[in-house]
Symmetry: D2
Subunit: 312 residues, 4 copies
């Protein structure tokens, strides 16, 4: 994370202010409001604003006139019920806004979640900072040999060193040429007053995909959980998963009852197919079921055995 | 507007609370937070929660670290610029939530705006109150003879009385039969312990479309303005327009700079077609232009003359 | 279903036409194209248009230049994989459009699925037909005593007769008064030339919620399946479930491989919570697990036992 | 545009097929179906599938049972009316699907239009081709000195040559290193069997933003026109505008009446602010209006004068 002194000062100034409000307020989330939580080598997430709390979910589900949350036990039961039965609209009644700094190739995955509001830093209008993502050595994974979109062993020694050199060297060279083509130094003055700078909207095309960008990203609680269920999950690419994991932690601070239900019924649960349910029923009845007799294909059988914690 | 004493007390309790927050806060909107603003004979809108202010629009447009709003004049200029050039994403960074009580036929128009979150009172689960919309005499309009979806003169005398009798009588009878089929009184006890009540999800079909329902409705500022540009406008049906007008007033309290830009560039402006622009150019050049020489059809010419405040 | 002779003729004319196209075409769906499939007493669904087939899902998943579908077995495997792993975007590449006639109270549930395009018949502009939904005697269910939004026993004898009388009588009376207030007969002429008709946008409020409306409804295959997973399911209200079931049948005709995967992995499967998975693991290990030792609440335990086909 | 012989053959095979259908069919669009229309140096758009035609807009607006389009003049009038009065839902009843090959920095702008379905080629799963966008000399524009997101004069001579060298050199070097890190040649075999390849999901981060990607992109006619109104417009970046212009041409083939209305009422028209309308009224009344007396700011006044074709 690379914040300038000025940015630090702005954040601290925002944190120092306190206002009176009639709105639902969540002290545990207020505690970290505006703070940059570091992710990867130069990235971060910051919670910038939020609307609603656990009580707001309950209030909407009941279309009530007051605040609810008198009896925590009842609210908890209702939130669990809504989560289990896919009653999603009450969760849409809460909203959160993040400021995120992230590599462009991660941003390209993230933006595919369409039900959100986004304001990205414009490289058509402004100049991007000289910051690129370079993986830490322990995340420099080889291509998986069994899963076409997975990672295998970590590269080591000379191979790893060579990859890091290439990534760093290419990103730096491309960035330096970007500034050269723009003909600007970091304070916006021409490097060489004798020539014109290439249009920003063109020069940016020379940057590599690990260059950092940033955006404001705002979504409702239901869609946030959908995002987290896909991106905080084991099969998500590591570089987006670390963002999702940090956001999962902000979810816990913000709406603790909802977070608990989410972990219990969504993240921690398992979906069985029709044949999978059939196989479990037969196993519970004492029958010995094999992949062949289950009717499941090899891969699905393997996944089912994994879910059930059984040796194949 | 018909609030029970209990509902009044809940609203007052919510209004009495005050919390400390680091979030952007808008005193002019806090002033009316939770209060029911009466609409039609039994309806209302209440602002239940909000996120962001004029400064949040500016902050998102600049993807900044601090709060912005140091110089009101600059913020105003930027907001005007964003509005004029259809840069819609910064406006999506603010969010507002309403509790609305409205007749079902109005709800059916309203729900067509899809980019919003909605939690409606469930007549499958609960019993609706005995409240219907009956137009005030001055809104009892005849069918327009020139516009198939417009209103003409106001009905008067016996005709008006007859219509009001029919509307009131049918709504009451249908509601009473609804309760009879449910076999419940207002406290939920069986009217007649000797028989079963019809399922709520079925009995509700007997209600008339002027029966009041209610919902929580949450949307972002951009989509709110889109809604208002269509529903606070002269051609909108009166019964939805009064809701939109009251919401336009909450917009003014919430984000005054944005409201001003909205009125100047969206609500108060006019869209000319290519031929319309051509006609204006020729008129400004001193040429006498008629419908025939403009190439516009009669109706479009009439609308253009109206926009330009000219006799035809 | 009540189609006029003219409507029948229009449908037959559309069915008689045949055009040459380079697009993917599905004969089993073409067979029923435009035909009205009756639902409830006066409703129907008609498939009006479609885009894509099973091959289009595969083609999009592979971002290929040709048509795919050379080897059905491979396509089937890929579609199963996409369905199991929630890769939803390839399913969004197919689109279908229905013409639906349905009671207003069903339309109000249906419209809550926002990711669809809708054109409804406008009662602001035109006059609705005199058609209401009256449940068949075997669907006249009492309120469930255990589930607040469910149905219990079927009403019988006098009670049933009374309910049907009320529903029919109120719907007819309200409709007749609607026409009276409009002051129009069915051919659009004034009933009484001596008085004005009430504006259509107002008169419609006198209709009951079982009045039939109609709309064009268009959605992509992913969102169609989401709709069906909620509405063709056992807990959905009968009056919307019958529409969903008829649409499930059109899904089978249209994209048979996708339909099979949908039934296997979505409709026919089961979602277990984290504690549910834990309980199954312990049971498979030979342990006797009870509701108390599972950590599950009574209702969740009951649902789990039901899923696993076990006595409690 | 760089299609392999195999891709050409697949396209030709798809074009050779002809199927019988009852659906609305548009010969002028069928003529170019599947054909790659070249854009920029290696990009293209191809229309892959479509649903509906001008008649389908009319049919939906009327919620009719037949095909409409009997009287072209009436359909034309209705489509114009719908376009002028922002009745957008009938336009949502048509759908089109493109296959697009485009530079990543263009894809990043494009994807901000959220109301569309997208399937992008996955560089997590597969290897991208060695193709980058290098601007033609006449599009190598300098940064505008008056508009922070615009272009100025075209670079020439040595400056231009230097920029092209940098763009080409950096893209090639980055791509070669990408293949080196992957340790794969173009047929998927290891370059060096003695070492592991870096995971694809990591290696891709070394590519520059002018690398070509491709996707299937599907949207409804209303949202297509919204996209075109922003991207086929003079202020759009050239590199996305050329795609939009080619798509505008497919719009003309597909729905000629709708295209004409779109050009007349949307693309070719002008939006005036409230003060702008006021100024025009006064000018038409013979008054001499200046920027100062108009109340407009300098920039808005300039834009108004431009719209009206007047010297300032």
């Amino acid at each position: 994370m690379t914040l300038t002194a000025e940015q630090h000062a702005e954040i601290e100034a925002a944190r120092a202010a306190s206002h009176a409000t009639r709105r639902a307020t969540v002290p545990a989330l207020e505690d970290i409001l505006f703070q940059a939580i570091p992710i990867l080598d130069h990235g971060f997430i910051r919670v910038i604003d939020y609307m609603g709390d656990d009580g707001a979910i309950v209030q909407a589900a009941r279309v009530s006139y007051g605040r609810g949350t008198k009896k925590v036990q009842e609210d908890k039961g209702l939130i669990n019920y809504l989560m289990r039965h896919r009653h999603t609209t009450p969760f849409e009644m809460c909203e959160i806004k993040y400021h995120v700094k992230l590599p462009i190739f991660v941003a390209r995955q993230w933006i595919r979640h369409r039900t959100a509001n986004v304001n990205e830093y414009s490289a058509r209008y402004s100049i991007l900072d000289k910051e690129f993502y370079i993986p830490a050595p322990e995340h420099l994974a080889a291509q998986s040999t069994v899963n076409r979109q997975g990672r295998g062993e970590v590269l080591e020694g000379e191979q790893a060193a060579r990859v890091l050199d290439l990534l760093r060297g290419d990103a730096e060279r491309c960035y330096d040429h970007y500034m050269h083509m723009l003909n600007e130094n970091e304070t916006g003055l021409p490097l060489d007053p004798g020539r014109s700078g290439l249009a920003r909207e063109l020069a940016r095309m020379n940057l590599t995909l690990n260059t950092y960008t940033q955006w404001y990203w705002k979504t409702d609680l239901h869609n946030l959980m959908h995002f987290l269920s896909l991106r905080a999950e084991a099969h998500a690419q590591y570089e987006i998963r670390v963002y999702a994991e940090a956001m999962l932690d902000t979810l816990r601070r913000w709406v603790p009852l909802c977070h608990e239900a989410f972990v219990q019924y969504r993240m921690g649960g398992a979906h069985l197919s029709a044949l999978g349910v059939e196989a479990v029923k037969r196993m519970l009845a004492g029958e010995t079921v094999t992949q062949q007799t289950s009717g499941l294909r090899a891969r699905e059988w393997r996944e089912l055995m994994e879910t059930l914690g059984r040796e194949e």
